[in-house]
């Protein structure tokens, strides 16, 4: 384990309620760990505590077995890439990188070599003497990356580093980050609320909600084996439809598992089609299940709005959750009470 968080608690000064409480997390060496969760769940807070920029109210953090809970940020050997890059606006690209290196025991020549190396690695060669206001958003992002890499840290901490870029550039930078990760093999701890980013980049995903970890698993498991109703509904585009059964347990299924064909074994119910949206690859239909709520279906076939359908889900596509909304063994379904969809 590279980083160990144990029983972490965070209360911001001036507020009574903890943002994070009793959180335990072990981040594996060499992993690309993504902290994923809805806005306000405490991802940034957690990352900043690891970086040392935010004090820890309770619990401890260790790095390679050494307790770093109260260590100065600069002494932790971690590098951070901020959402807004946080590059020094009055220094050249080179100056931005050198500023940090000067505080490490390095000769001028070592610094020059290091700068040359990271410039090449981030594709910034030739931009050394530019000022930040002469750079595009993507280039500034690279400067922030170059600055982080130059210190050869034990881990990179990144807080939504791509969120200020346009869609195309974001895709490009995403793939460059993956390449960087593969090349360097250093641990990445990456915060995002974008599940596509999480699923495509991560080796491990930490799904968070209200300062608690809901699931810590591989992207595949988080997607196909959600540990609870929250993860089931949060992951996937769109997330699962979930029915509450008449004895207050839950069953869920992916919107793509819904079918208008009769199934041999499974659940079936009547629903009225409210809207049909064309999404390119397929259609998204929103149904109303009379008296129970709305759910979403994905299908390649276009369906006409305003009509009634009988929808079914095959038994093997059903997910079962107990009364506490945690994943459980299959149980006999007593009847359907209410339907939840994450978007609602």
């Amino acid at each position: 384990m590279l980083i160990n968080l144990s029983n972490i608690k965070k209360v911001y000064p001036g507020s009574k309620d903890p943002v994070i409480e009793g959180l335990n997390l072990a981040i594996k060496e060499g992993s690309f760990t993504v902290l994923l969760g809805p806005s306000g769940c405490g991802k940034t807070t957690l990352l900043r505590m690891i970086a040392g920029l935010e004090s820890v109210t309770g619990g401890s953090i260790s790095l390679e077995g050494e307790n770093i809970t109260n260590m100065e940020p600069g002494d932790r050997n971690l590098a951070m890439v901020f959402q807004n890059y946080a590059i020094y606006p009055h220094m050249t690209v080179k100056g931005n990188i050198e500023f940090g290196l000067k505080n490490y025991q390095m000769t001028k020549q070592q610094r020059e070599e290091r700068i040359k190396l990271v410039m090449e690695l981030t594709g910034l060669t030739g931009f050394e003497n530019r000022m930040p206001n002469q750079l595009s958003g993507g280039q500034r992002q690279r400067v922030a990356l170059a600055r982080a890499i130059s210190k050869s840290p034990k881990a990179f901490l990144m807080d939504e580093p791509l969120s200020n870029l346009d869609a195309k550039l974001r895709n490009q930078m995403r793939s460059e980050l993956i390449q960087l990760y593969n090349k360097m093999g250093t641990t990445f701890i990456y915060v995002t609320h974008d599940q596509t980013e999480a699923l495509t980049m991560a080796t491990d995903i930490v799904v968070m909600k209200d300062g608690k970890i809901m699931q810590y698993d591989t992207p595949e498991n988080v997607y196909s084996n959600p540990a609870n109703v929250f993860v089931a509904q949060f992951i996937g585009d769109p997330g699962m439809d979930v029915f509450q059964t008449t004895d207050d347990q839950f069953i869920g299924f992916k919107p793509r598992a819904l079918t208008t064909e009769p199934v041999a074994e499974g659940v079936s119910f009547d629903a009225n089609l409210l809207t049909t949206e064309y999404l390119g690859y397929d259609y998204q239909m929103t149904f109303e299940v009379p008296g129970k709520g709305t759910l979403v279906m994905r299908n390649k076939k276009k369906m006409t709005s305003g009509e009634a359908y009988r929808l079914s889900v095959p038994l093997e596509d059903l997910y079962y959750f107990d009364r506490d909304q945690n994943r459980c063994e299959p149980f006999p379904i007593t009847g359907l009470k209410e339907v939840f969809h994450a978007d609602k």
Partner: protein, 307 residues
């Protein structure tokens, strides 16, 4: 062809041609502002230069061109040389010591607690109080026999001073009052400048292992430089034109110890009726301020970082 013919303004000649040509000239558009500026600043300035070359008695209206006589007089006068020296000394303290004090107070007060906010407001008030009142208050406090300063000093068994009445302490007293009066405004600007530097820049510096002192000189000062430059230029100018505190407290005395160039201009003109000499001194003052501002501006502009 036809269409362009129809819209060809030149063919109409006359007013359209004139109007269009006129409107292409940007100077026409800023003319109202220019004329005001000319009437209110450039004209008096030229008039001062003009008078500087004359011997003029406004009461009788007699005026005689004397060329450089007034300037020659000034540079041969020991008093005037002393005045220049005084002014430079005064400026040095107001600018450098004053700026340092503003910077230190600004940094100290740049916190968002209610107490700091209150102090910020309080420290700004001297700026909105008339200099005359400030001078009177300080004259009361600096009174040698019964003033607050000497009372406090003697209570602690420390040596007392004649403050603005003593030949060797008058300049220091005047400097003190001037700095005190201008501090609030400067502090306010510096706090605004400091608030303009985002927190994440400091966080990045912490992650870069930068020590507080290093961060201060390499991050804070450069990012504050536009504010500092503005304060530097305005303080230099205000130091050179400082008048009311001197007029109130010392009348340039004792023995010209606190006579500054702006007060000297007033003295020559209004008290000795030497308008020509007064204007010659004013021209020298103008040359001083203009040169220093230009040096400040061009030398520092390169080093100043504007966001």
């Amino acid at each position: 062809m036809q269409i362009s013919d129809r819209f060809e303004v030149k063919k109409h000649g006359g007013f359209y041609k004139f109007f269009n040509k006129l409107m292409k000239n940007a100077y026409i558009l800023i003319a109202p502002a220019m004329i005001t500026c000319l009437a209110l600043t450039i004209f008096p300035m030229c008039f001062a230069v003009y008078l500087g070359f004359h011997k003029w008695d406004p009461i009788s209206g007699r005026k005689k061109l004397v060329w450089f006589d007034n300037f020659r007089y000034l540079f041969q006068s020991e008093d005037f040389i002393k005045v220049i020296g005084n002014t430079l000394l005064f400026m040095f303290f107001i600018v450098f010591v004053g700026l340092l004090i503003k910077l230190l107070i600004g940094i100290f007060l740049n916190k968002r607690t209610p107490l700091h906010n209150f102090t910020q407001t309080v420290i700004f008030t001297p700026h909105i109080v008339a200099s005359v009142s400030v001078a009177i208050i300080f004259m009361g406090m600096m009174a040698p026999k019964s003033g607050l300063f000497n009372t406090v000093l003697s209570t602690f068994g420390l040596p007392t001073s004649n403050w603005y009445l003593g030949a060797d302490s008058a300049m220091a007293s005047v400097i003190m009052v001037s700095i005190w009066q201008s501090t609030g405004y400067g502090v306010l600007l510096i706090i605004a400048g400091l608030r303009g530097i985002p927190d994440y820049i400091y966080e990045a510096a912490r992650l870069d292992r930068s020590k507080p002192i290093n961060t201060f000189f390499k991050i804070t000062i450069p990012l504050l430089s536009p504010t500092l430059l503005y304060l530097l230029i305005t303080t230099v100018c205000s130091a050179f034109t400082s008048f009311d505190v001197i007029k109130m407290m010392t009348d340039g005395g004792p023995d010209n110890a606190t006579n500054l160039i702006a007060y000297y201009v007033y003295q020559q003109g209004m008290m000795f009726n030497q308008y020509g000499r007064a204007m010659a001194a004013a021209v020298i003052l103008l040359i001083f301020t203009a040169t220093l501002s230009a040096i400040n501006f061009f030398a520092l502009d390169r080093k100043v970082y504007y966001q």
